[in-house]
């Protein structure tokens, strides 16, 4: 990143964006509550997307202004070798390791 700043002051950013991001935060909280209320809640706690999601939540509290990029990298396949075939595969939003999540 170039380190260029936002055009708004911190106060203006809070005035402009706090309410909509408060709502997004509550959506995430209710998503996690919904997972906990599921009948099989204990069984999916280690599922690769849930694990990635919880790691991403921890990144939100990291300082430094590169949280978005860090979360994108967390969800990404870090390998470089092509896969043999794409037949029947689709993106799920988080990388679950070799042969996982597809």
């Amino acid at each position: 990143m170039t380190g260029k700043s936002c055009s708004l002051t911190s106060q203006e950013i809070l005035d402009t964006y706090f309410l909509e991001n408060r709502a997004r935060l509550l959506e995430i909280a209710s998503f996690l509550d919904r997972l906990d209320r599921a009948a099989d809640a204990g069984e999916v706690r280690g599922e690769y997307r849930r694990r990635a999601f919880e790691k991403a939540l921890a990144l939100l509290l990291e300082p430094g202004g590169e949280r978005t990029k860090a979360i994108q990298l967390l969800f990404s396949d870090p390998s470089s070798e092509p896969i043999e075939s794409a037949l029947g595969l689709k993106a799920t939003g988080a990388w679950g390791g070799e042969n996982a999540g597809n």
Binding site: G3, K4, S7, T16, S79, I83, A86, A91
Partner: protein, 267 residues
């Protein structure tokens, strides 16, 4: 304000959407060839589709005084069927010669498989041989970073293709820097759910600067918004950026990239 949306799939949109574009000031659009949501059974289906992109859709757009350009290519999603994909590549030149076809696109990778790479490399070779502009599709979600890097390696290995004639689309925060560092144009796509938002797109303009960026709606048959570029321009105003910067990002940049094709003409 004047807006060019450089990436829309208008064959999937309604006439009401064309009206919304016209009312909003989006009077020029470019439509890449893509995957229709199902795998096509034969090359004949591609003939019909490329005819739609080069004859039917421009006529439909013209009813609303919208200039319609297109890109012709074999998409990555159907590249696993090598025999069909090569049959389609063989037919591309006749459609690339049509008056509204600006280059080869959107081509690239979807899941980063060996067959996808083979079909992409063959189209890069075709682009190099014909000196065509290239519009690149990068993979979705967790596959994007890996696919973007493979794509750039392939492009850099073809000396006849220069980066200023290539736009790598659907970039996000983790791929923009590498794309820019390699000299390519990059596209940001505004999707309500699965890609970028107006706020994140303007964050990118602020962080990476306004050079070589094109912002698009990629409005198609899934959850998407044909006037997303207008909403994004409004986000720029919301932050107090000057109107000239919005004009640059949403009109001058796509004009300058697409204008490298002599077929792209604005009044």
């Amino acid at each position: 304000m004047r807006v060019i949306d450089p990436h829309m799939h208008l064959v999937s949109r309604t006439t009401d959407d064309y009206l919304a574009l016209a009312y909003g000031g989006i009077h020029t659009v470019a439509e890449p060839a893509f995957w229709p949501g199902f795998d096509r059974a034969s090359a004949a289906s591609f003939h019909d589709y490329f005819h739609q992109l080069t004859v039917t859709e421009p006529a439909r757009a013209a009813r609303f005084k919208i200039r319609h350009y297109c890109w012709i290519g074999m998409n990555a999603k159907e590249a696993e069927h090598l025999e069909l994909a090569r049959e389609v590549i063989a037919m591309l030149p006749q459609y690339l010669d049509r008056p509204n076809a600006l280059g080869i696109g959107e081509v690239g990778l979807n899941k980063n498989s060996r067959n996808e790479i083979a079909i992409f490399e063959e189209q890069v070779e075709l682009a190099a041989r014909r000196n065509e502009l290239l519009l690149i599709h990068t993979p979705h979600l967790e596959d994007k970073l890996k696919g973007t890097r493979i794509i750039m390696d392939i492009l850099k290995n073809e000396p006849r293709v220069t980066p200023e004639r290539v736009l790598i689309d659907h970039a996000e925060e983790h791929t923009i820097g590498e794309i820019k560092d390699n000299g390519f144009w990059y596209g940001l796509t505004l999707y309500p759910d699965s890609k970028g938002s107006p706020a994140r797109a303007i964050d990118a303009v602020e962080i990476f600067g306004p050079d070589r960026i094109c912002i698009n709606s990629s409005a198609d048959w899934s959850v998407s918004d044909p006037i997303a570029t207008l909403k994004c321009a409004n986000e720029m105003r919301r932050r107090g950026h000057p109107e000239a910067l919005a004009e640059r990002v949403f009109f001058e940049n796509p004009r300058d990239f697409l204008g490298q094709s002599p077929k792209f003409v604005l009044p």
